[in-house]
């Protein structure tokens, strides 16, 4: 009988723990933001003790679909600004669509000296596997395909290409040694964990459309003060410093220069 008395106690405990954390927002972020966003969120959570920001990383296209289907995200950081713009058109946005960075693609390798690589070296028969993000739905994959086509290399290297589900899986294919070279985000190549294993070379951005990245507060997050203050924090000096350190070009800087 004693156990039955504990049951309501256990139930109320479960209920309490879920209601106690009222101020919590969920951020959906493109995989290229992984390391930069982790740092930004950590520093934000330190200064805002009353709330908590949680981030999930994945492909921009997937989040876009999920938000359309009522996904539980308050803020959406996309690697391609067109996705949040489309959400805004559908009436699913709770704020203006704001550009936050321009991304860059690089050739990255941990088995070859990537600093000496150029796009042309991808045609070298010694390179048998090249990883890139899936151009069908990943923004970095689309730009990688554009760069390969602009340089006339697509047909020469097509046979060697393997496609990651997002830019993080692409890097992982190279990191595990299963592809010799990857076309990944500069922000990932600059991460200390990854950069200690290998080098990179920038792919000139004249070969592809700009990787303009944008965020939006979703309709779900529209009424949440924490979502607004986190969006504001992205414009702060400390957040911008972190973004620059990870190789992102900030939108205002490009217009000023």
């Amino acid at each position: 009988m004693k156990h039955y008395k504990l049951l309501p106690l256990a139930c109320s405990f479960l209920l309490l723990t879920t209601t106690a954390q009222a101020e919590k927002i969920m951020v959906a972020a493109a995989a290229d933001l992984k390391f930069a966003m982790d740092e930004i969120v950590a520093s934000f959570n330190q200064t805002h003790s009353h709330g908590e920001v949680q981030v999930v990383y994945g492909s921009s296209g997937k989040f876009h679909t999920q938000i359309q289907q009522g996904g539980p995200y308050d803020l959406y950081f996309s690697a391609d600004i067109d996705y949040p713009r489309e959400l805004a058109k559908l009436g699913l946005a709770g704020s203006e669509v704001t550009p936050y960075a321009v991304g860059r693609i690089v050739l990255w390798s941990n088995s070859l000296d990537a600093t000496k690589l150029t796009l042309e070296s991808l045609a070298d028969p010694k390179i048998t596997r090249i990883a890139m993000a899936n151009p069908k739905h990943a923004p970095y994959g689309k730009r990688a395909e554009e760069a390969l086509r602009a340089t006339g290399l697509w047909e020469k290297v097509e046979e060697k290409l393997v496609f990651g589900e997002n830019i993080a899986q692409t890097a992982q294919f190279v990191q595990t040694g299963n592809a010799q070279v990857g076309i990944v985000a500069l922000s990932l190549a600059l991460n200390p964990q990854i950069s200690k294993d290998g080098g990179y070379c920038l792919i000139p951005d004249k070969f592809h459309k700009p990787l303009e990245q944008g965020y939006v507060i979703t309709r779900l997050g529209a009424e949440k003060p924490l979502a607004k203050s986190f969006a504001g924090y992205m414009q702060s000096a400390s957040a911008r410093t972190i973004m620059v350190r990870y190789g992102f070009v900030l939108p205002n800087e490009t217009t000023e220069k």
Binding site: T65, K136, V162, F163, F173, A179
Partner: protein, 225 residues
């Protein structure tokens, strides 16, 4: 045409993969199931558990370990390189190897049950009639276990068709080589091509239902008379 070229390519690839995996598993799974059904060895429990692992293991675990093992630094990768077979990830045969692991219990367990159901008696009779163990196996056990072979093959084939997580992790999504139907559907959804996704998904749904119907409808017993 209702389906486009890359959809058809994905379906054909899936059928080819599932057929080859089923054939290989018939060859590998039969002796394992036979041994598990007949042995009194202490290892039986351990081997049985290892065979059943893919039933509970997340595909991501299997995919992750296979990616490392088959990579250039991994044991399987080094073996295939010394044998001159090259690296297995992102290849069709890499998928075959992964699927053989992944579908192993679906072949072994129905066969094991079928072999156990035969019991010792028919084999003892065969032995008294002068049949060698191998002869007894092929002329007594195999015919008696025929329904088990059918169930095991259908389940293995269907389970390989339904594979997704492992393929996504070690396949690299190459058209005609590793882009199977389940991955093709995923790509359609990601690219918001819902019409194409619907078509392929409906085919998968009908196929899966028919397979299960074939299995359950032929099952004897129950209360049908």
């Amino acid at each position: 045409m209702w389906l486009n070229g890359s959809d058809l390519q994905a379906i054909w690839l899936t059928i080819r993969l599932a057929s080859i995996v089923t054939l290989i598993l018939l060859l590998i799974g039969t002796p394992i199931a036979w041994w598990l059904a007949r042995t009194r060895s202490r290892c039986q429990g351990v081997i049985g558990a290892v065979v059943a692992l893919p039933l509970v293991l997340p595909p991501s675990v299997l995919g992750f370990y296979l990616l490392l093992a088959m990579g250039p630094q991994g044991p399987v990768g080094q073996l295939t390189r010394t044998l001159g077979l090259g690296a297995l990830p992102f290849t069709f045969w890499g998928l075959v190897l992964a699927s053989v692991f992944y579908s192993l219990p679906f072949m072994v367990q129905p066969l094991q049950n079928a072999f156990e159901a035969i019991g010792d008696r028919p084999l003892e009779v065969a032995a008294t009639l002068g049949a060698s163990p191998l002869d007894a196996f092929f002329s007594v056990a195999v015919p008696l276990a025929r329904p088990g072979f059918l169930t095991a093959s259908i389940l293995t084939f269907a389970h390989t068709v339904g594979e997704f997580g492992v393929v996504l992790m070690i396949g690299g999504n190459i058209p005609g080589i590793t882009r199977v139907a389940s991955v093709q559907i995923y790509d359609h959804v990601e690219a918001m091509e819902y019409t194409s996704a619907h078509r392929l998904s409906a085919i998968m749904l009908i196929f899966s239902f028919l397979v299960l119907l074939a299995l359950y409808a032929k099952r004897p017993g129950g209360r049908r008379d």
